[in-house]
């Protein structure tokens, strides 16, 4: 089964989840805090995503719930990427 996200997101997510082993699956509903995503790892993940996708996650969206599962985070990233991606170029 293909994950709902792209390969770049998969790499960033796996880097941030230090308790997820390389061979383990990354299901969309995985509880990230169980796999080592603490507050500092969230900041690093967020900055990595903003840089990779050339987007800016609005402050009011930056809440612990945003990071609760890979799916909740990807939904926002995907949406912002569509909305901001084209205008960010140029």
């Amino acid at each position: 089964m293909n994950p709902p996200w792209d390969a770049r997101f998969e790499v960033l997510m796996r880097e941030a989840l230090r308790l997820l082993e390389p061979g383990d699956p990354l299901p969309p509903d995985l509880r990230t805090t169980d796999y080592g995503l603490d507050s500092l790892a969230m900041v690093e993940l967020m900055l990595g995503i903003e840089e990779t996708y050339g987007i800016s996650i609005p402050d009011d969206l930056v809440r612990p719930q945003l990071f609760s599962t890979p799916e909740t985070l990807w939904e926002v990233v995907d949406e912002l990427h569509d909305a901001q991606g084209s205008s960010a170029v140029g």
């Binding site: 169980d34 603490d38 500092l40 967020m46 930056v62």
Partner: protein, 561 residues
């Protein structure tokens, strides 16, 4: 002035063993130490008296702000007063130790002040600690009650955390809800002088002890009062200031963050855990609450400086006038970036430990300091002596100017020692023979390497395998001895790699059976105060040196895959 010699109260210090020093070394030590006096009155003032005074003179002045609004001094005093009544009804006595649990906020201030007014000891705990750990703490501190304000937060399901309930039940300690106090009448004024005097234990901070047994560090009222007074003076805190309460209540620095502002009639603004770690949210929160004084660990300072740089010049700069770095070593390069990014603020490098009532040395960073290879930790705070001693043939002597040795602290800040795990480790508290007039007569061995040069102290690292991870002291040997208790591990070795302002920990292990990093992490989290962000590296075999000892160099050289 705080008297330098107060007879019988110093019995505890006098009962400690003296540090082994020759008479000549003892005679030379005062001349080579850094010392500072100070104007603390005796007995040391209480914070609840200051709050009561502000509440009567200016009841409408704001004492506390959080996301949901402000609390005035009048309202704060009223809440403290009602909780005092509740505690008195339950028979709370001077000297009782009371655990306090709940997310940081107004209730930490209210609980501390009510306990202080009764001469009881504030013991902050964290519900995310395991029930086993909490039980041990309740038992070894012989805790009289657990005061909890868990239920007032959103998302909580109306009852205290299961870990807390379980630990309280196991140890037969009564759980009191802070919110209950609202149904009690205010306690009539005046409350009189501090019951039990100012030598009394005011609060206890828990660190992880050897083999995972929690270790409680006892701070006396006079040590705390001296630090608060020093902070108010050094930062020139006035009623116009707003101090950020951004540290978890179980950390020693949370004490002055909550109380220095209150003793000066200023306001405290709470910044929650999530905001405290996210540079943009943090800057927004500091701006919204008009924070003027903020203390952060260098890891977070670095993130904040990056964020300010990213924002560019069209964004107004934050309004704080003091940024205080604590918990980890502040490096000159980062200090330089702070001075560039925040031209309107002053930067303080603070150095201290729970054992000595928080800070013992401070340095206001100057532009010229940035060119140094290391920043000074500076001069001692009020009523403090800093000594650098060198061990030679089993005896200690004072280091000469610029010579590297171990840092010792004497004077008013030196706390009352430990509750719980003592372990086989060598003692840290000694009788102070260098200054026979010291009010505590205690000398604390920090285990830090340091030197004194041109009237300034410099921190040069640890004398043992201790590192700081995000501001928390970690003994690498302790993690290893803990993990060796895990049935599936054959070998384990911990290495620390300095990364920017902090350390990254790697645990290399050889396992007998299938065990996942997640299981091992849970095993570790159960036994440690803080969740350690570690990377787990599974090995087929442990690299050993010829003498059979673990080859840490080979481990450190391995790259993460």
């Amino acid at each position: 002035m705080y008297s330098r010699d107060s007879g019988t109260d110093r019995a505890q210090g006098a009962a400690l063993a003296a540090l082994k020093m020759s008479p000549r070394a003892v005679a030379e030590a005062p001349g080579l130490a850094l010392t500072a006096g100070g104007g603390l009155t005796e007995p040391a003032p209480s914070v609840c008296d200051a709050v009561t005074a502000h509440a009567s003179h200016c009841p409408d002045r704001v004492a506390f702000v959080d996301g949901s609004g402000g609390t005035t001094y009048g309202q704060l005093q009223d809440r403290v007063s009602r909780l005092r009544t509740l505690l008195l009804d339950r028979g709370c006595k001077p000297g009782d130790r009371v655990a306090v649990s709940g997310p940081r906020g107004l209730n930490n201030l209210v609980s501390f002040l009510a306990l202080e007014s009764l001469g009881a000891t504030y013991v902050p705990v964290d519900r995310t600690w395991s029930a086993e750990r909490l039980s041990r703490i309740f038992a070894q501190t012989e805790c009289a009650y657990v005061l909890t304000h868990e239920t007032e937060t959103e998302g909580a399901c109306g009852s205290p955390a299961p870990t807390l309930l379980q630990a309280a039940a196991t140890t037969n300690v009564e759980l009191l809800e802070t919110a209950e106090a609202a149904r009690h009448e205010p306690s009539p004024l005046p409350w009189g002088p501090l019951p039990g005097g100012d030598r009394q234990a005011r609060y206890v901070i828990h660190t992880s002890g050897s083999t995972g047994t929690p270790k409680g560090v006892v701070v006396e009222h006079r040590g705390m009062a001296n630090h608060l007074r020093h902070m108010v003076d050094a930062l020139a805190v006035t009623s116009a200031d707003v101090v950020a309460f951004s540290a978890p209540p179980t950390y020693v620095v949370s004490i002055w963050q909550m109380l220095a502002a209150l003793s000066a009639g200023a306001a405290v603004a709470v910044v929650d855990d999530f905001d405290a770690a996210h540079p943009r949210r943090l800057l927004k929160a500091l701006d919204e609450h008009r924070v003027t004084i903020v203390q952060l660990v260098p890891t977070v300072i670095s993130l904040v400086v990056d964020e300010l740089r990213r924002r560019g010049s069209d964004h107004p700069l934050p309004k704080f006038r003091w940024l205080i770095a604590t918990g980890e070593e502040l490096r000159p390069q980062l200090a330089g970036r702070v001075l560039d990014a925040l031209p309107g603020a002053r930067l303080m490098n603070a150095y201290g430990m729970s054992e000595c009532s928080d800070d013992v040395a401070q340095h206001v960073v100057q532009r010229a300091d940035v060119r140094r290879w290391r920043l000074p930790v500076g001069r001692p705070i009020a009523n403090t002596a800093l000594h650098v001693f060198v061990e030679q043939e089993g005896s200690w002597r004072p280091a000469r100017s610029g010579e590297v040795g171990e840092l010792f602290v004497g004077g008013l800040p030196v706390g009352g020692g430990y509750i719980g795990a003592q372990g086989p480790r060598s003692p840290s508290f000694f009788r102070d023979e260098v200054d026979p007039a010291s009010p505590t007569l205690r000398l604390y061995r920090t285990g830090d390497l340091a030197c004194i040069k041109d009237g300034l102290a410099f921190y040069l690292g640890r004398a043992d395998r201790q590192v700081k991870v995000r501001g928390v002291r970690i003994e690498l040997d302790e993690i290893e001895s803990l993990l060796r208790q895990h049935p599936s591990l054959v070998h384990c070795a911990v290495t620390a790699e300095a990364v920017q302002e902090s350390h990254h920990l790697r645990i290399h292990y050889v396992a007998a059976e299938d065990v996942t990093p997640k299981t091992l992490q849970e095993f570790l989290d159960m036994r440690f105060t803080t969740v350690l962000p570690v990377h787990w590296v599974r090995l087929k075999e442990m690299p050993l040196m010829r003498n059979g000892k673990i080859d840490y160099r080979a481990l450190a050289a391995e790259k993460l895959t």
